[in-house]
């Protein structure tokens, strides 16, 4: 392994601009003559717009224009869409309600935009927005997903607010297995709604070039080409070839910046209308009301086991709250990204999962780090842990008894796991966590009046999204391949244009490590280009832990083509047969001789083209690959959480965190560890601190960083992180991907630990001090009785 090759903890190239304040985030971009946009948003969860009077607003100082939903409709701007078709059990398609970028009829959540003020300055736009008079007829709203079906009907197309009633698995076979089971564990679980809160708020800056009749959009997007496609094909603002989307440095995404939102649509539309660039920057309270939220499942789950603790079947019924409108990928998250992981790491013969997706008058819900897999892992790992306790079995032993041990393994829920060694990660995690010493530590904690608990989460996920045929057959409207163009310059340096996008993942470094090692050229001579639809060929972007498995595989395929062509050039230079040329460590050699040519000479010759004619070989050295993965990848691992709970206050402190993950091949262990840290932090946030709360009138009570508890440094421990490795057989590098693992594993580990500490399962997320204290109080009579 070289100092800058695959497996090296190379320090990041992109850091230099970030640590010196020279990053270029979307709000840093200025365009001459730019105006500022401020949206007028509904203060009601559900209402009919009777009238909008913009007269007073238009007369405010600095105002250029005020636009409403009625004008958007007149201009025939299309609605936003959800791009993944899901069918209900009865075969009917999902009920996708119209989602205009500015509401004209009804508003359906607090924060739903009804008008936009365009002014010279931000302050003037905000001042004028307060003067827009909207006459609302307030309507009854429903925010609780468990009550959605009996609540007032929000959208005409969706009776009982039901989007779809979907299922996966063989219900009859599962029911039979349950009937024969010796032990059944039943749990009611809530996966709490979360607000992603990337520290950079969303921004859209649109500019119209009248001379070319073309539009440019700078946007905080994780996938600029997808944004361009959706805006062109569905919203109809401009055809694709007249629309450029640029996603510069983006300050975190976690899924929330995948989707196509009303704000960028309105900015593009307004830019053409006013003839000046239009810039919108979200205020944090706006982010709370408009960024897609995550999770929000209500689940009843059951696990059937035989007398020895062998799992026979699992069934779950989930109500998934998708919010007021279907966001871009929303339908897929509680179905094909959720139910398909219900086997966990276990050999479960029968699984049945039913999911009802509902509308409520809340912010739309879509993918958020883990997207469906944290929800699945929480169900499976809570069931397994509770089953172990109920049956008097050690939780690690029960897991080991049921681990899948031979591969490939076909689960009953579509996924076929290709490679893994779950025993290895559990064993290593238990050693690193010193599980053996836990009982001693527990006694020590008790001496200090603290309750100590330990919880496991042996998670698996499906990522490296995804083989196009597979997801297409499941309803996806797009393929999920990835692209790479490798451009060798005449002077030998290389630019890689990737359809992926980095918003913290370090691609400028890791992708360069791959290319530098493969071509035998210095790491400094490789540049990675992403984020501009004018520069980079179509790509699907970054999410779903796919940039290593899919994005890098595309680069490998392009590098294969580069090597093949470069060998042809070298053959001409060295006057040898093409088949006799070998390439190693940046040098082309004629096999069995000492005749060689260096990379730099071959690159130059490819462009000078003196040694060959254009009829034998085209000049140039630039190759493209569009790589479609053959399977999902299946990262898996074991997280062990150890907590101390103060019985008097219910406060939980995490005293130890151990993570052992199998990500297959690791390109840069420093970056991979960083991804694990960040994911664990978000998972702990979900388990202990975070929760988006609506009141009975549909007001988002947790609507700012004062009310929504983001993890701070003092809320979190340091993490012990280790790796095992079984390479993925389904991509050339053997990468599985690592970006979401921590967020997927963590919540179950935390709740398993707290419930172990206090001896009660009645702990909901977030497990605040009040929640845990109440659970302790409720458990006392039963515990006292058990002690007698």
């Amino acid at each position: 392994m070289s100092a800058t090759g695959i497996g090296a903890a190379v320090r990041r190239k992109e850091d230099i601009r970030f640590i010196t304040g020279r990053g270029q985030y979307t709000d840093d971009v200025t365009r001459p003559g730019a105006t500022r946009a401020f949206f007028v948003r509904s203060p009601h969860a559900r209402a009919r717009i009777k009238a909008i009077d913009v007269g007073a607003a238009k007369r405010m100082p600095g105002v250029v224009e005020v636009l409403t939903g009625a004008q958007l409709a007149t201009d025939k701007i299309g609605n936003l869409i959800c791009g993944w078709m899901i069918h209900s059990k009865d075969g009917t398609p999902m009920k996708m309600a119209p989602h205009p970028a500015l509401a004209a009829g009804n508003v359906n959540h607090v924060g739903d935009a009804v008008a936009v003020v365009i002014a010279e300055t931000q302050a003037q736009a905000r001042d004028a927005a307060e003067k827009v008079k909207v006459d609302y007829e307030v309507l009854p709203a429903v925010t609780d997903p468990a009550k959605a079906k009996s609540g007032p009907q929000i959208h005409e197309v969706a009776p009982k607010n039901t989007i779809y009633e979907w299922s996966l698995g063989d219900q009859k076979a599962v029911d039979a297995a349950f009937a024969a089971a010796k032990h059944v564990t039943k749990l009611d679980l809530i996966n709490n709604r979360l607000v992603p809160n990337a520290i950079e708020p969303r921004v859209a800056l649109a500019e119209y070039d009248a001379g070319n009749d073309s539009l440019t959009l700078w946007n905080t997007s994780q996938n600029p080409h997808v944004a361009r496609l959706v805006i062109a094909a569905f919203v109809g603002i401009a055809p694709e070839h007249k629309l450029r989307v640029i996603a510069p440095d983006v300050g975190g995404g976690f899924g929330s910046k995948i989707f196509i939102y009303p704000e960028e649509v309105v900015c593009l539309w307004a830019a053409r209308k006013v003839g000046r660039p239009v810039k919108w920057t979200a205020e944090r309270s706006e982010s709370f009301l408009t960024d897609a939220h995550g999770r929000d499942h209500v689940t009843h789950a059951e696990l059937a086991l035989d007398a020895s603790g062998k799992i026979l079947a699992l069934r779950a019924k989930t109500i998934a709250n998708l919010g007021a409108y279907m966001s871009t990928f929303s339908s897929s998250v509680p179905t094909y990204l959720y139910a398909t992981l219900m086997s966990g790491q276990y050999d479960i013969p029968q699984i049945y999962c039913e999911v009802d997706a509902v509308y409520t008058n809340t912010v739309p819900v879509d993918a958020y780090r883990g997207a469906g897999r944290p929800e699945a892992t929480f169900v499976v790992e809570r069931l397994v842990e509770v089953a172990a306790r109920q049956m008097g079995l050690d939780p690690a032993d029960l897991r080991k008894r049921n681990f899948i041990k031979s591969f490939p393994h076909q689960t009953p829920v579509i996924m076929a796991y290709d490679a893994g060694d779950y025993n290895a990660s559990l064993k290593k995690a238990m050693e690193l966590a010193d599980v053996k010493g836990f009982n001693k530590r527990k006694r020590e904690s008790a001496r200090h009046g603290k309750l100590r608990g330990i919880g496991y989460s042996t998670y698996i996920e499906a990522c490296g999204i995804a083989p196009s045929q597979a997801v297409g057959s499941l309803g996806a409207g797009v393929g999920l391949w990835e692209s790479a163009e490798v451009r060798v310059n005449p002077t030998g340096s290389v630019e890689v244009l990737t359809g992926c996008h980095a918003h913290g993942q370090g691609h400028e470094t890791t992708f360069a490590q791959l290319v530098s090692e493969r071509l035998g050229i210095p790491f400094e001579n490789v540049s990675i280009v992403h984020g501009d639809t004018d520069k980079v060929q179509f790509g699907m972007g970054t999410y779903g832990s796919r940039s290593g498995a899919v994005g890098m595989s595309a680069i490998v395929k392009a590098l294969d083509k580069i090597e093949a062509k470069a060998k042809k050039v070298a053959a001409h230079m060295l006057e040898a047969a093409e088949g006799d040329i070998e390439f190693k460590d940046g040098k082309f050699t004629v096999a069995g001789t000492d005749k060689s040519a260096a990379w730099g000479d071959v690159a130059l010759n490819a462009y000078i083209a003196h040694k060959f004619s254009g009829q034998e070989l085209e000049p140039g050295l630039k190759e493209t690959s569009f790589y479609d993965p053959t399977n999902f990848t299946f990262p898996a691992g074991c997280h062990i959480c150890e907590v101390e709970v103060d019985a008097e206050t219910g406060k939980t402190e995490i005293v130890n965190w151990t993570a052992v993950d199998d990500f297959g091949t690791v390109i840069n262990p420093m970056i991979v560890e960083g991804q694990v840290h960040g994911g664990i932090a978000q998972g702990i946030g979900q388990a202990l601190l975070e929760g988006a709360v609506y009141d009975k009138d549909g007001q988002l009570v947790s609507g700012s960083l004062m009310d929504y508890a983001m993890p701070h440094a003092h809320d979190l421990p340091s993490f012990k992180v280790g790796l095992t490795e079984t390479k993925s057989p389904s991509n050339p590098l053997g990468i599985k991907g690592c970006g979401e693992a921590g967020a997927i594993a963590a919540p179950a580990a935390v709740i398993n630990a707290i419930t172990d500490a206090i001896g009660s399962e009645q702990v909901t997320m977030p497990a605040t001090a009040a929640t845990v204290w109440a659970a302790i109080q409720r458990a006392q009579p039963a515990q006292a009785a058990a002690a007698e």
Partner: protein, 166 residues
């Protein structure tokens, strides 16, 4: 519109502002120093931290006019564009204390203030408590804590923060 004058990163500057213009807006929009970031509207996130007369302050909760005659240091003022990095900046890179980079300028400016108040020998507990005013969504803070400890030590030695990262 009232005028305001201050020194920013060693340079005397003047601008016309509204009474309600925040310092962060003055820095970003009037002076085009976009290294200081806005991440929230309730003064929680810390992306906007700068130094005012040597003390860390949240520029989103400071009016530009309040800084009349003050000496402001932003992230851009820590190191010469063509010179070596500040040891704290070095430490963040060495220990992978950033991912998307958006919270990083505020984090670094806050870290310098921790060193000013708590010295060069910072333990994990102290650093975690002192970071109460800075939120990071990417890193989980693990490497930020390591970076700040290393940067603080390096500042004490007057040199770069190269330590073997674990």
């Amino acid at each position: 519109m009232p005028a305001v004058s201050m020194t920013v990163n060693g340079k005397a500057v003047t601008g016309d502002v509204e009474a309600r213009t925040l310092l962060v807006q003055f820095l970003r929009e009037n002076l085009r120093l976009t290294g200081t970031h806005v991440g929230c509207d309730t003064s929680q996130c810390g992306a906007c931290v700068v130094h005012i007369d040597g003390i860390a302050a949240k520029s989103c909760t400071t009016l530009a006019l309040q800084c009349e005659g003050a000496k402001i240091t932003t992230i851009e003022g820590l190191a010469d564009p063509n010179g070596p990095l500040h040891p704290m900046q070095e430490a963040f890179r060495e220990h992978h204390g950033l991912q998307c980079g958006y919270c990083t300028p505020g984090m670094i400016m806050a870290a310098l203030d921790i060193v000013r108040r708590k010295g060069h020998d910072l333990d994990e507990k102290t650093i975690r408590e002192q970071l109460d005013g800075n939120i990071c969504r990417c890193t989980g803070y693990h490497n930020i804590v390591k970076a700040i400890a290393a940067g603080a030590k390096a500042m004490g030695r007057g040199g770069p923060a190269r330590q073997a990262a674990e």
